[in-house]
């Protein structure tokens, strides 16, 4: 009996700890989203338990600020970057796994070296390059430098190498050329790695901060990360209610996507294990 009681107490303690930690981690969300429903006046007075809840801040965020434009910019740029990286990384990974050519190891070495070089250290010449090419303050400046990635190539190469040799041989017997084998066999076979890279490159582009800050100046091309900073430092300074509402507008969809995505990834991973 004592044994049982002991384990019950242990169980309860574990749940208490689990819940406490969840509360701490989620606190910034709760505070942010709660205050996004409060009038800024009340927030300024420190009256966080005000009952004047309303959607006014959201209406203001949508009507008084270009937040929708920022979101659209970010969405278009991240999507295009993702598509381009999926295409170009998978192509170069294919070359490294399935094609034999002179200098293959050397070139792969170059790709590995690339992964060691931080983009942050290259901004000065890159800024001059895009300025010279007339790409400043334009979608292209946020997409073109990120059309491919050494990391994506490396990751897909590791995955492509696990493609069973028999699939290549079976395709050879049926006479598939490289492009057909790449498109009809390698890409579908490595679907899960492709999805992973897709998510990774989309999020990477979405979270870019330094580069868009340097290269975009107008609302036409400004992305959401810098847009929020703009809102916070402009005339709306200290309009905390509206700023929190803007943050909530951005974060809620991402979290919903993350929840759905997590479920999908889980079943995706299981599928990978069975195959």
């Amino acid at each position: 009996m004592a044994e049982n009681n002991n384990s019950l107490i242990k169980r309860i303690l574990t749940y208490v700890l689990l819940i406490a930690l969840a509360l701490v981690i989620l606190a910034p969300f709760f505070i942010g989203i709660w205050t996004s429903f409060l009038p800024t006046m009340d927030i300024a007075k420190g009256d966080l338990f005000s009952t004047n809840l309303s959607f006014d801040n959201y209406v203001a965020a949508f009507t008084k600020t270009p937040i929708l434009r920022y979101l659209a910019n970010s969405f278009v740029i991240s999507t295009l970057t993702m598509v381009a990286q999926l295409l170009f990384c998978s192509m170069s990974a294919y070359a490294f796994v399935f094609l034999k050519f002179k200098g293959r190891n050397f070139l792969f070495g170059l790709f590995l070296v690339t992964m060691m070089l931080p983009f942050e250290a290259q901004i000065i010449p890159n800024f001059q390059t895009v300025k010279f090419l007339g790409m400043l303050d334009n979608y292209s400046v946020l997409i073109v430098p990120f059309l491919t990635s050494a990391f994506g190539t490396f990751m897909l190469r590791q995955s492509f190498k696990q493609t069973p040799a028999e699939l290549k041989e079976a395709s050879d017997i049926e006479g598939l050329n490289h492009f057909q084998f790449y498109w009809n066999v390698v890409l579908p076979y490595n679907k899960i790695s492709m999805i992973t890279l897709g998510a990774y490159s989309f999020l990477g582009a979405w979270n870019q901060y330094l580069w868009p800050m340097l290269t975009t100046f107008s609302n036409n091309s400004r992305v959401i990360q810098n847009g929020l900073r703009q809102l916070q430092s402009e005339e709306t300074f200290n309009d905390w209610g509206m700023i929190q509402a803007s943050a909530a507008i951005i974060v809620i969809p991402t979290i919903i996507v993350l929840f759905i995505g997590q479920h999908y990834f889980k079943s995706g991973l299981n599928e990978g294990a069975v195959k």
Partner: protein, 359 residues
């Protein structure tokens, strides 16, 4: 009209020889089995015929055409892989249609050929399943259907049954055999399992150590093995091989334990004698006349296998009727009759050599 291998050799980059001067002719429409222990080069030979591996020397002719430099797709053949090589992201139907689509066959024709092939292997109901939803035997059938749907007349199979359990293997063996006959395929089949080779083949090629040991029908291979390796590779339990000395023109003394009469004179003094377990004689006797002791008795139902230790070293197995009474530690006398094989010290079969000389 046949597939001809002439002096085919293969060395890998490291200079390791995997195939050494292999020549054979495979008749159109026959079931041809390449058999040998693992590492003998049999899979490489199949890959060479498929065109997946380049040869180092020799020529390969298919239907009077040298195909050495032809890519796999131009050799007009299909292949069934040990792991089946099914595309996990395609349904059963799409897997079977894969090659036809790649070859841009007319879609109506694809439809009818795939459906026919699935019908032939009894997979019609599973056409929309993915490979992971199938059992091992069903996956095997998809791989077969792929070969059936193709119009290629030569089909290569690389240990297609080795991933199945014993009972399923027997069933699929019969199915493959029936398919081959029905479609009139030239089937080149690689296996390490001598039973598969014996039961299905029109002709068998025995490979060992990168070299051909013998090519022949199952009967020829079993009854007239070219050498000691072939003799011991076929037959369960394997043939008993014992050293022997010629003690007179007509008598061989085997293992110093018993004597046999030579059917005809031989030149060599020291030879080895091979006796199938079914051809050995075993009788109960007292300690004085015994030349062997029983170690173990295996009961198989209608037969028993007696494992015995010869007095002068070496072990033999003997097949007896299941009604015969033998038990471990029993003293017995083991002898052989007229049915035995003689090998020289290099292992070559010289049983009929003398006969031929005399003939």
């Amino acid at each position: 009209m046949s597939t001809i291998l002439k002096n085919v050799s293969k060395e890998f980059d490291q200079g390791k020889k995997v195939l050494d001067n292999v020549s054979a002719e495979i008749q159109t429409g026959e079931f041809f089995v390449i058999v040998g222990p693992s590492g003998c080069g049999k899979s490489t030979l199949l890959r060479i015929i498929a065109g997946l591996t380049q040869i180092s020397a020799g020529t390969i002719k298919i239907e009077n055409r040298v195909v050495n430099d032809l890519s796999p797709k131009d050799r007009n053949l299909t292949m069934v892989f040990q792991s089946y090589a099914l595309f996990p992201f395609l349904s059963v139907w799409e897997n079977v249609a894969f090659g036809l689509k790649a070859r841009k066959v007319d879609s109506l024709e694809i439809e009818s050929r795939v459906n026919d092939a699935l019908k032939m292997v009894n997979l019609e109901e599973l056409r929309d399943r993915k490979p992971r939803e199938l059992s091992g035997g069903q996956r095997q059938r998809v791989a077969l259907a792929r070969a059936v749907a193709s119009d290629a007349k030569i089909c290569l199979m690389d240990e297609p049954l080795s991933n199945l359990d014993a009972q399923l293997r027997i069933k699929m063996r019969q199915e493959i055999y029936a398919l081959q006959r029905k479609l009139g395929l030239t089937l080149i089949y690689v296996t390490h399992d001598q039973v598969e080779a014996m039961t299905m083949a029109d002709h068998i090629m025995v490979l060992n150590d990168s070299k051909i040991q013998q090519v022949g029908t199952p009967e020829e291979i079993y009854q007239h093995p070219a050498n000691e390796f072939v003799a011991s590779f076929f037959g369960v339990p394997p043939i008993n091989i014992l050293p022997a000395q010629k003690i007179s023109e007509a008598i061989l003394q085997v293992n110093n334990d018993f004597e046999v009469t030579l059917p005809h004179p031989i030149e060599q003094k020291n030879v080895r004698v091979g006796v199938r377990p079914t051809e050995m004689k075993i009788v109960d006797t007292d300690e004085l006349h015994a030349n062997a002791t029983i170690k173990a008795v295996e009961f198989l139902g209608d037969e028993k296998i007696i494992h015995a230790k010869m007095n002068h070293g070496g072990e033999v197995s003997v097949m007896v009727d299941s009604g015969a009474h033998f038990s471990p530690f029993q003293n017995v006398e083991i002898t052989a009759d007229a049915e035995f094989l003689i090998f020289d010290v290099e292992g070559n079969n010289i049983t009929e050599q003398g006969a031929m000389v005399h003939a």
